[in-house]
């Protein structure tokens, strides 16, 4: 059964009560042990892989060297034959035969090593995927448990402090009221600023004698005299 299914079953089976373990502690430990074991396997597989790859490279070099050498000696044998030295040609041919035997042995080994490398690479890939999968599942269990424990802690905290969780609508109203208050204050501040700006402009205009000028005692007297 997949972990998600286990979690769902646990929820349906009443483990939705906060704080109850989803997968018992023992189950989690077994999981962690499996991850640990898989990591060990992975380490060993990678170590083996590097060993075999090193051997594969060495053998490839040896095969190439032998092939070259065989070619070279075939040339020598032909030269010996051309010079009519049958005995020397035979000796060279014997050497070629022994190198050929070596070569086919090395080629056999190379095929075996290449097969090993393929298998080990596949094993490493599979083990890595397996570990990722275990870790993902373990993280699901741990997250579920952590969230439940956190909820328990929060609920206990509220119960202990005598404060209660507000209803959603009540919370919303309070927050909106605060925002409204803030908006009102902002508007009031803006208005005040505007008024101050108007006032200082008026003062400047007055000083320059522009716009509505205030009656001064002198101007009133002037006006009265004209009557």
């Amino acid at each position: 059964m997949s972990i998600l299914n286990k979690i769902l079953t646990a929820f349906r089976g009443g483990a939705r009560e906060v704080g109850e373990a989803i997968v018992d502690a023992n189950g989690t430990r077994i999981f962690e042990q499996e991850i640990h074991d898989s990591r060990e396997h992975l380490k060993k597989a990678k170590h083996d892989l590097t060993d075999v790859m090193a051997k594969q490279m060495q053998t490839t070099r040896e095969v190439n060297r032998l092939k070259e050498s065989v070619n070279e000696h075939e040339g020598y044998a032909v030269q010996a034959l051309n010079k009519g030295d049958e005995a020397l040609a035979l000796e060279i041919a014997e050497k070629i035969a022994s190198m050929d035997a070596d070569l086919s042995q090395q080629e056999g080994a190379l095929t075996t090593y290449s097969g090993h490398v393929e298998r080990l690479k596949e094993l490493v890939r599979k083990t890595e995927r397996q570990i990722k999968d275990y870790e993902r599942q373990l993280s699901m269990v741990k997250t579920t448990e952590s969230v439940q424990k956190a909820t328990a802690a929060i609920t206990d905290n509220f119960a202990g402090s005598n404060s209660r969780l507000l209803g959603a609508k009540e919370s919303l109203e309070r927050i909106q009221k605060k925002q409204l208050d803030f908006d009102d204050r902002l508007k009031a501040a803006e208005q005040l600023q505007d008024e101050t700006a108007d006032k200082s402009l008026e003062d400047k205009m007055q000083a320059a004698g522009i716009g509505e000028t205030k009656d001064t005692a002198a101007s009133i007297l002037e006006r009265l005299k004209k009557k």
């Binding site: 997250t143 439940q148 905290n157 959603a168 909106q176």
Partner: protein, 135 residues
Amino acid sequence: MNTQDIAIRFSELNSYQGFNFDCQLIPGDTDVLQIVVSDYEEIPVYISITETQILCISYLWSEDEVVQEKRGAMMELMLEINIPMPLSSFSKIGDKYVIFGALMANSSFDDVVHEIITLAENSVEAISAMTDYLK
């Protein structure tokens, strides 16, 4: 980052984008951090940390606040607005509907702060969008 690190950083943080924060460690089986964002005091954000992620959760409403005949429609709407709502998702823990955001365990403190603010704002948005379904 662990719970203590985040708590210390929050207590050093005076203000961020005009928001103030009040941070309180709630003891328990798992350490939980309660973050109260200024102007959103009624809906605290709770942070808990696991090996893989930093979980930020706010509690929206409980089952007994839901108008029972509208429960199905409410859940469908919550599913529908899950994607359009930036960075946060809905979930349910026990009988409580929650909104949450999950961050990678190696997220920066700035990421966490940004998440907290977004979560507080989204909480208000979500409740105000769902008032028709609540008592």
